[in-house]
C-alpha cells in the first residue's frame, strides 16, 4: 500500500481484504480528502481456490459440481455456462423441453438473487425492516427452488445435454401459486423502493455511472443496463429457449422516462428484472413442449463421447449480475478438460466502482458498492492511515456512518 499522500490533507483508507465475495474478493484503497473520495484502487485475489486448475484433474460431470461452487449465490449460472461451453465443443443437441426447464431455473435464480440484493441494499442505508421483509419473500423463492430441484442453494440440477429434474403437471399449481405470491409482493416492494422518501434521497444522484464509462469499462448486467447500455446475453445471442420467448432489453427509462445511471436507477432496473423473470417463467410453463429432458441419460456413454472431443467451446449466460463466460478446450486424449476459463460478471463490475465512487462521501461507499451487487456487506475492515498513526474503522462503524447520513437527511 502506498502511504504517500498526493495532497497534504488526503488520507488513504484500505477496505478489505476480509470480504465475503465470490471468486473475486477485493481489497480497496480509497484516497479521501475529508469526507470526499478522490481516488479508488482495487486489488483482487484473496479467495483464489484454484478452481480452474482443479478442473484439469476431473471429468466434465465432476467439473459441473466444481463450477456450482464457484459462487453460492450464482450456483446455477456457472454450471449452465459450463454446460453450454461443453455442448458447443462436443456438438450436443439439447432436447427442447430441457431448454425451457433451464430457462425456468435460470429465472428463478434471478428472482432469488435480485430479492436478496434488494434486502442488502436496504440494509446498507439502515433500512433493516426492508431487509427482513425481502428475505421473507426470498425464503418463499427458496422453497420453490427446493420443491423443483431438491436443494435450497446449490441446486445440482444442471447436467451436460439437458437437465436432471422434470416439472410434472401436478407441480404446476404450486408454481403458479408461488408466482402469484411474488407478483403480489412485488407491488409492495415497488412501492417501498420507488416511493419512499429516504431511499430516494440516499440513492438519487449517488454513484453515477455514465453510459460512456459503462461502455468503456465493459460493465455487464443490471449495472450497465441501468446506465442505458442495451446489453443482455438473453437477447443478443439467444440460447436455451430465450429465442422463443417474448423478451426485450430492460432499461430504467421504461418506468421513469430518463436514465441517470445512479443507484436509484440500478434499484429500478433490478425490480423491473424481477418482474420480467416472473413473466418469463410463466411463459415457459405455458409453452413448454413435451419430450425428453436430457440428450444422453447414460453418463458412461456421455463420458465416452466427450473423451473423443477435440475442440473448444464458449458458453455465455446472463447471470443475475451480468454476463458469465466459460471457455472449455478438450484435446481428445483425456476426458478431463484441457483448459477451463471462467469470467464471472463481478470481475467486470468492479472497475466501474472507480468512476462511481470518485467524488462521493465515505458514508456512500456501502450503498454505492452494494449497487453493483458484489456483496460488500459483512466483515469488511477499514483502517484509516494517517502518517503511520493508525486507527481502524470496522464495517460496523462504516455502516453506522451510512445510517447517520440517512438520519441527517430525515431531519
Amino acid at each position: 500500500m502506498k502511504q504517500t499522500a498526493t495532497t497534504k490533507t488526503s488520507y488513504h483508507i484500505p477496505v478489505g481484504p476480509i470480504h465475503p465475495a465470490l471468486k473475486e474478493p477485493v481489497y480497496f484503497e480509497f484516497e479521501i480528502d475529508g469526507e470526499r473520495i478522490i481516488d479508488v484502487n482495487v486489488k483482487l485475489g484473496h479467495i483464489h481456490r484454484g478452481v480452474e486448475w482443479a478442473s484439469r484433474k476431473r471429468n466434465p460431470i465432476q467439473v459441473l459440481y466444481l463450477a456450482e461452487r464457484i459462487c453460492g449465490i450464482c450456483s446455477y449460472c456457472h454450471p449452465a455456462a459450463f454446460s453450454l461451453a461443453v455442448e458447443a465443443a462436443a456438438d450436443i443437441q439439447v432436447p427442447e423441453r430441457a431448454e425451457y426447464l433451464r430457462v425456468i431455473q435460470g429465472e428463478l435464480e434471478r428472482i432469488c438473487s435480485h430479492i436478496l440484493w434488494a434486502g442488502v441494499a436496504a440494509h446498507e442505508i439502515g433500512f433493516d425492516t426492508v431487509l427482513y421483509f425481502t428475505w421473507q419473500i426470498r425464503e418463499k423463492a427458496l422453497d420453490l427452488t427446493e420443491y423443483l430441484t431438491g436443494n435450497r442453494i446449490t441446486k445440482g440440477i444442471m447436467t451436460i445435454g439437458g437437465i436432471r429434474r422434470d416439472i410434472t403437471k401436478d407441480m404446476l399449481p404450486r408454481i403458479k401459486r408461488d408466482l402469484q405470491f411474488f407478483k403480489d409482493n412485488f407491488e409492495k416492494l415497488r412501492h417501498i423502493f420507488l416511493d419512499d422518501k429516504t431511499i430516494k434521497m440516499r440513492s438519487q444522484g449517488a454513484g453515477i455511472l455514465t453510459k460512456k464509462d459503462a461502455l468503456k469499462l465493459c460493465a455487464v448486467g443490471p449495472t450497465t443496463r441501468a446506465s442505458g447500455v442495451k446489453k443482455d446475453v438473453r437477447v443478443d445471442t439467444s440460447y436455451f429457449a430465450y429465442g422463443d420467448l417474448d423478451i426485450d432489453y430492460i432499461t430504467p427509462d421504461v418506468l421513469t422516462g430518463n436514465i441517470n445511471g445512479d443507484v436509484y436507477d440500478r434499484i429500478i432496473q433490478r425490480l423491473l428484472e424481477v418482474k420480467q423473470s416472473i413473466d418469463l417463467v410463466e411463459q415457459c410453463i405455458d409453452e413448454m413442449p413435451a419430450g425428453e429432458i436430457v440428450s444422453e441419460p447414460k453418463i458412461p456413454k456421455l463420458m465416452n463421447q466427450l473423451k473423443k472431443v477435440n475442440g473448444e467451446g464458449v458458453g455465455r449466460h446472463e447471470a443475475p449480475r451480468g454476463e458469465v463466460i466459460h471457455y472449455v478446450k478438450f484435446n481428445g486424449q483425456t476426458e478431463n478438460p484441457y483448459t477451463w476459463k471462467v469470467r464471472a460478471p463481478t470481475y467486470n463490475n468492479i472497475l466501474p466502482w472507480i468512476p462511481m465512487l470518485k467524488g462521493e462521501q465515505i458514508a456512500d461507499i456501502p450503498i454505492v458498492a452494494a449497487s453493483t451487487d458484489p456483496c460488500m456487506s459483512c466483515t469488511n475492515r477499514v483502517a484509516i492511515v494517517n502518517n503511520n498513526s493508525k486507527y481502524e474503522l470496522t464495517k460496523e462503524q462504516l455502516h453506522k456512518m451510512s445510517v447517520e447520513k440517512t438520519r441527517r437527511f430525515m431531519k
Binding site: P20, G45, R49, C71, Q136, T154
Partner: protein, 145 residues
C-alpha cells in the same frame, strides 16, 4: 455471575462470522438463519461486527493461503471462553477444492474446531443446532471454573 443478570443472559450467544474463502453459499444460509423464517435472535443469538464481542466464531470456507493469518488473528481477538464452529463441507474436509494448491485448510488444521457442520451448504436448522451445541461446550467450560 454479576448480580441482576439472569441465567438466560449466558445463553445468549453472540456470533462472529468469518469468511475464509467460502463460495457464499454458507454465508447466505447463516444470514437466512437470522431472518424472519428462522429468527435466531429470539434465542439471543446474533451476529456481531467484531470478534472482540463474540462468544462463538463461525468459519466458512476452506482456508486459502492469503486468509490464513487473518483467520488466526480473528480467533486470537476473541475473549475466552470461546467456541469455533466450522460451517460447510469445504471448511471441514476441503470438499470439491480438496487438492487445490492455494489451500492451507481444512479449518481444524488452523483453529481448534468444536462443532463441525456438514452440508454444502448446511440448512439454517443445522447451523442453529450447531450454535446450541457450542453453548453446551461453553457451559462445560464455565462449570469447570
Amino acid at each position: 455471575m454479576a448480580k441482576g443478570l439472569t441465567k438466560s443472559f449466558k445463553r445468549a450467544l453472540w456470533v462472529y462470522h468469518c469468511n475464509s474463502g467460502s463460495c457464499n453459499g454458507c454465508d447466505i444460509e447463516i444470514i437466512a438463519a437470522l431472518c424472519p423464517r428462522y429468527d435466531v435472535e429470539r434465542f439471543g443469538i446474533r451476529l456481531v461486527g467484531t470478534p472482540r464481542h463474540a462468544d462463538v466464531l463461525l468459519v466458512t470456507g476452506p482456508v486459502t493461503r492469503q486468509m490464513e493469518d487473518k483467520v488466526k488473528r480473528v480467533y486470537a481477538q476473541m475473549p475466552d471462553p470461546k467456541a469455533v464452529i466450522c460451517v460447510g463441507n469445504c471448511g471441514n474436509t476441503g470438499d470439491v477444492f480438496y487438492e487445490s494448491y492455494n489451500l492451507v485448510g481444512p479449518v481444524n488444521k488452523i483453529l481448534p474446531v468444536d462443532v463441525h457442520v456438514i452440508g454444502c451448504p448446511p440448512r439454517p436448522e443445522a447451523i442453529i443446532n450447531a450454535v446450541a451445541k457450542a453453548w453446551v461446550k461453553l457451559e462445560t467450560l464455565e462449570a469447570k471454573k
